[in-house]
Symmetry: C2
């Protein structure tokens, strides 16, 4: 027998399709049980914050109310799917209150069978609830708690078209495609035992799980029972399987469908969902039926045998995802064959053998034609073929060769398998002890990565935050334009377009234009009785310079009409010469053809973020600064402060790095200092006049510290402009004292960044992404 | 007696306040009767298009339904008020259908007394209607039809404050200000006879007006009667006056108010409005009462003696406005005095003498202390004083000296007065003939100036158009930022902010952002099944250039993601070389960091202007072009075409001038032509590829020529984006044939200019300003 389908391999090589054969679409699903501090199954309801189980496309529950299921969207690459799964894992972990994601496929400490909560889908999901109740009766609730990872894959349409044109030009494309996926399914089923061995990570069960398993467990302590030669209880006959191994035809999609239908008709399973085959042929639909499969054909395969890997934060490693992918390509390139009942039975036997006995020194396995042989020899032989495939296709050769080598190592050294490592760790720390230690470690990692959305780090942090909130709540999102931070959000009923997190449909265009024009904003605020800096507008430097006499003697601010990030602004806190004034005017006119000269208002500046008529957050911004220790120079102190991972460039991190540029140099020079100056211990040195976060300023949350009267004042000011989302810059002497006339409104920002409120330098984090979604889609 | 108040004059000169004394606020009101083609009083209702009589702050009716009254807002200068009056006059003239504005204070051909329609203010204005019905009974309807101009003026607050500080530091400011205006009123009343003579222009009445006047009229023909020594019937005892000359005290505002109140209490007048004094002391309120005057003091004076000048399009010349202004300043600087009953009677006698007999060779007039003297001598003596004032104050010296000289000429040469000229013209052309000739001439001037709003020519034409519509309909407007074309509009209930005519509150910010981003717009349109050009997005020139093979062989368009006015775009209608393609890509990347390469779609391009779900207008834009005569060069033909007053620069005219720049030169070179090429008779030569109006293209209205099916298609596309105001660029093969799949949407513009639809190069003008207001404020 041929190792590979020679014609196919030849065609791929000849037409340089070796890269294309690895391309396709990827999706991952993962279940985790929620547990309390002691590793006991959480009996609380699925958190409200995670949206509606039936409607959230990313987060739902599986069998049990405590069984969170995460679902990535269809992704263009393995990395993308992996990142997304990590994001989901982090978002959910951080949404739990005093609970953890159990990082093991086998259940945690369980209550009595009857206390295990079956997922409640409410009145809209009564069919879903009823289905689960039937399963509970048929299989027992405990077995339903096994959790794992599903791996979804489809080949690129382009590849399939090319193959069809070459090998079956007369055949309808749909039929050809079905045939390809059936072939992949067959080879995959035949060789799956190897993947079970390599990815199995559920060798230990807690005593509360079952006494039935004791026969399997050679060793036991007071807490759990385990077996050193066991890879995966979940995949074994003790795992979650149909009551018997049903055989169906893989000859054609029609016979496949007919056989499953026969099982349903015979009352053996409720519907196709209950056919727990290690691979499923799926349509593109969320709730695709056998009829859809018949009409629309196979859209992708779902591989269902992967345990949660407790050593990986998100339950699976990137290398294993590549290994599985390679295995799919292998399943395509292995020759097609007749998957007879006998062969299926052999494959099923092997499935169980790999689960329960693969690690035994003298473990056996059946060859495809039914001879018993050495597990290790047979495994290494398959791995040889995988290695040969990698060599011939040449795609990511070194990387994939490494992965094959690692797999070989797990065959020859079973102690390097996940399962063996789990047993070792459980022996050292206990079943609950080990897994809770991992659960806590992963929660800490999720916390540390809170200000990041993997795979979306090129977007502004404010947009990343909004996407995270959308995922959590189950708002479907699409990034329409990455450079523009342009999102489409949809809850299935309503579609919203959002740019840079706060440019939304909530504000009318004219309201934004009013805010964009500082002159107009001031005019309206003044008319409505709000205090704004007095000042004049100039259309030429000449006119502005002529007016020097009007301003001399006091503090002033000279600024372009439409400034961004403090560009072009000069502040004179006290008196200034005609020359200085002239320079400031010329400087401002470099940024705009209209310039404002305003009185300088002393006091501290606060940013009030107003959302839908409410003050959602207040921060005080402090200009870029360092505090001395008597030893380090300003240059060194800046480098130290910039090392904080929260500081970056371009609004992609909570804070920005402090620059050591011309502006900072001049500002220090005015204080008689340079970058080499060594501040005394505790001495704070400012490097800029302006307090923008974008120029290295610090953000300090004041939301709960600001006297209510200022919030009322600001809210009224915002109402007079009619804005729904706005950032109001206000100068206040002392925010703790009630408002008198000591409060001046500097400007309204139509595109306020939200990241500085979500991740302030100091003070409480505010959940602004959630609030924006509440405004766009109504409260949850 | 002193000629001037020496202390005051000295103070002004010493403190360089001579310019400030001329500053202040100006307002004009003008009435015109509407007439039909034959000069008969129009019996039609006040046009709907001019909004609600009670609510329109700019346009209303006076006594009669046929008597349009125009009211300028408070203006900062004479020129501004004059321009605004001209605008109002033009707007109204163009809103009349087959009717004209009667350019004479004396009525046109009148129907029977009972047929003259009294203004009907509807249920909301029943008090207004009742007041007029009482007047009709008391004075007769015909006299109520005299029309004229009111001149409103207030001194600058700054001047009044300075005068108070100097001359009455202890006196409350309000009292001081009242005293100043009373003094101005007294001097004005005392010398008003001179202004009546100089501005009088109503010496002739039509026979249908009255038989009572015949005693006055020395000459008469079958149509009218007139008198060569008569200046103003309207101001004479035959004009519209109280039934007797009521004398009131001018000693203080309290005694002034008390005396008017006594007249009301005695039933002699209905209320203060009916006290027809040649000057009124007014509060700032629209319907100020005597109580308001007491509490708030005088805000401005209203001078009421000015006839419509049939020789000026808007009823008064700029020179006369300056003359009157000078007269007010004169009234301030003449010493204060006790305006006794005797003196008031003398002033009233002089008022009538100037109206009915001023032009007589031996006309007499009373001196202020009651001696009869030569009209001419006394008039020249007052003019001498005015001349002296001009000389001493030095403000606009030459200009005002010229105006005083012109006034002297009218004294010494009465045939140069308006009145004498009217008599002459009526003799030549008849009363109706002369005035209708003027009415027609002025309508033609209004038509010619339709694409202009005087005093606002620095704004974009689209904004000028919107303001015109607002004025017409009575939406109060403020230009908040001229450079930004930023308007505030208010109907009293609702305030709207509008930038550049089409940036409004009607669209949400996110809808605008979708339209602004060509990639996102295309994506959404495509998803909704609309035909858009196929293409790809590139973020680097390198990637775009690599894709050459994908595009070669067909026509393509290379363009920056966010283009304006066709900048950075290259079009290849057929095949192109790798070099040409590379250049086009580099060129586009100069304008944006994202570039689109799209298929070139052939056909004609149309701009559909969609407003509130309806297609308001469609134009076809033709690239800049000239058509030859076999003699002139392209350069000459362009100069000729650019001479059209409709062509200008910077969107301030209906069309833009064609440039002879690099782009045009290269485009011609590609056709083997230069600017010196002489096109054959009838040969049309294009100077650009792109058809934007901003680069000299021609706009041709197609609104009624486009097959309905395209309008439906475009409307549906706009709905899918959710835009309320948008300009949709569409390529269509043949707009007269029903829509099939021959229609491609190129882009949606969130800020479509409206001027090209209102004033197309060819085809019907569309009233887009009105439609935008309908959307913003609801239909009239």
């Amino acid at each position: 027998m041929q190792v590979f389908d020679g014609a196919l391999l030849q065609f791929l090589l000849a037409n340089k399709l070796t890269e294309l054969v690895f391309q396709g679409e990827f999706g991952l699903e993962k279940e985790n049980l929620r547990v309390d501090e002691e590793g006991r199954l959480a009996l609380t309801p699925h958190p409200d914050e995670l949206g509606h189980k039936l409607k959230n496309p990313y987060i739902t529950t599986d069998f049990s109310e405590s069984q969170v299921e995460m679902v990535t969207p269809v992704c263009g690459s393995i990395e993308e799917a992996y990142d997304f799964l990590n994001n989901l894992d982090g978002i959910i972990a951080l949404a739990l209150k005093g609970e953890y994601l159990w990082p093991q496929s086998n259940p945690p400490v369980l209550p009595k069978e009857e206390e295990i909560p079956v997922a409640d889908f409410g009145p809209e999901g009564s069919e879903q609830t009823a289905y689960r109740k039937n399963l509970a009766v048929k299989y027992g609730k405990k077995k339903q708690l096994f959790s794992g990872i599903h791996y979804n894959f489809s080949f690129s349409e382009q590849l399939l078209r090319k193959l069809q044109q070459k090998f079956a030009p007369e055949e309808p494309f749909l039929e050809f495609k079905n045939r390809i996926y059936l072939r992949v399914a067959k080879n995959y089923l035949q060789y799956r035992w190897l993947l079970i061995y390599l990815t199995g990570a559920s060798p230990v069960v807690h005593r509360t799980f079952s006494s039935d398993l004791t026969g399997l467990c050679r060793r036991a302590d007071s807490e759990s029972c385990y077996c050193p030669r066991l890879s995966s209880v979940r995949n074994s006959k003790y795992g979650y399987k149909n009551t018997e191994d049903y055989l169906v035809s893989y000859d054609s999609i029609e016979s496949y469908i007919a056989d499953i239908q026969a099982l349903i008709d015979a009352g053996k399973i409720q519907d196709a969902r209950e056919f727990y085959c290690p691979v499923r042929l799926k349509t593109g639909r969320k709730a695709g039926t056998l009829n859809h499969l018949k009409d629309e054909g196979v859209r992708y395969v779902e591989l269902r045998i992967f345990d949660l890997n407790p050593f990986a934060k998100c339950g699976i490693t990137l290398d294993d995802l590549y290994l599985i992918h390679l295995f799919i390509v292998y399943s395509l390139l292995k020759p097609d064959f007749d998957f007879t009942g006998k062969r299926q039975k052999i494959a099923n036997l092997n499935h169980n053998l790999a689960s329960v006995a693969g690690m035994h020194e003298r473990a056996l396995i059946f060859t495809v034609d039914g001879r018993l042989t050495s597990f290790r020899r047979e495994a290494l032989s398959v791995l040889d073929e995988l290695g040969e495939l990698v060599a011939r296709l040449g795609y990511k050769k070194e990387y994939l060769t490494g992965i094959v080598a690692a797999a070989r190592d797990k065959i020859t050294n079973p102690e390097n398998t996940y399962a063996a490592k789990v047993v070792k760790a459980v022996k050292e720390s206990g079943y609950v002890g080990f897994h809770m230690q991992k659960a806590r470690e992963y929660l800490a990692l999720s916390r540390a990565a809170e200000a990041k959305l993997l795979g979306y780090e090129d977007l502004e942090l404010s947009t990343q935050i909004l996407i995270k909130s959308a995922i959590k709540r189950g708002i479907y999102f699409t990034v329409l334009d990455r450079k523009d931070n342009f999102l489409r959000l949809s809850d299935g009923k309503k579609t919203e377009y959002v740019k840079q997190a706060t440019k939304t449909s909530l504000d009318t265009y004219s309201t934004v234009l009013v805010m964009e024009n500082k002159v107009v904003t001031k005019e309206i605020l003044k008319e409505h009785g709000f205090r704004v800096p007095r000042g004049e507008v100039y259309y030429s430097a000449e006119d502005a310079i002529k007016a020097y006499d009007r301003y001399r003697g006091g503090g002033i601010v000279v600024k372009p009409k439409s400034t961004n990030y403090g560009l072009g602004i000069t502040i004179f806190k006290t008196d200034f010469s005609a020359g200085e004034y002239g320079q400031a005017v010329e400087f401002a006119f470099r940024y705009d053809d209209t310039v404002l000269v305003e009185e300088f208002v002393s006091g501290k500046e606060y940013r009030f973020l107003v959302l839908g008529g409410e003050v959602a957050a207040v921060i005080h911004r402090v200009p870029a600064n360092v505090t001395g220790d008597g030893k380090k120079t300003i240059r060194e102190l800046v480098a130290e402060k910039n090392a904080d991972p929260r500081r970056g460039r371009g609004h992609k991190t909570p804070l920005e790095k402090i620059s050591l540029g011309e502006t900072e140099k001049n500002f220090l020079a005015a204080q008689g200092k340079s970058f080499s100056y060594i501040p005394a211990p505790g001495e704070t040195v400012f490097l800029r006049e302006n307090s923008n976060i974008s120029t290295g300023g610090d953000s300090i949350d004041y939301t709960d510290l600001v006297h209510e009267s200022y919030k009322e004042y600001v809210k009224r000011a915002v109402r007079s402009i009619g804005a729904v989302i706005t950032g109001v810059d206000v100068i206040i002497d002392d925010v703790t004292k009630p408002h008198s006339d000591n409060c001046t409104i500097i400007e309204l920002n139509f595109n306020p960044a939200i990241h500085m409120h979500c991740f302030p330098y100091k003070g409480k984090k505010r959940r602004i992404g959630d609030k924006i979604l509440d405004l766009l889609f109504g409260p949850r």
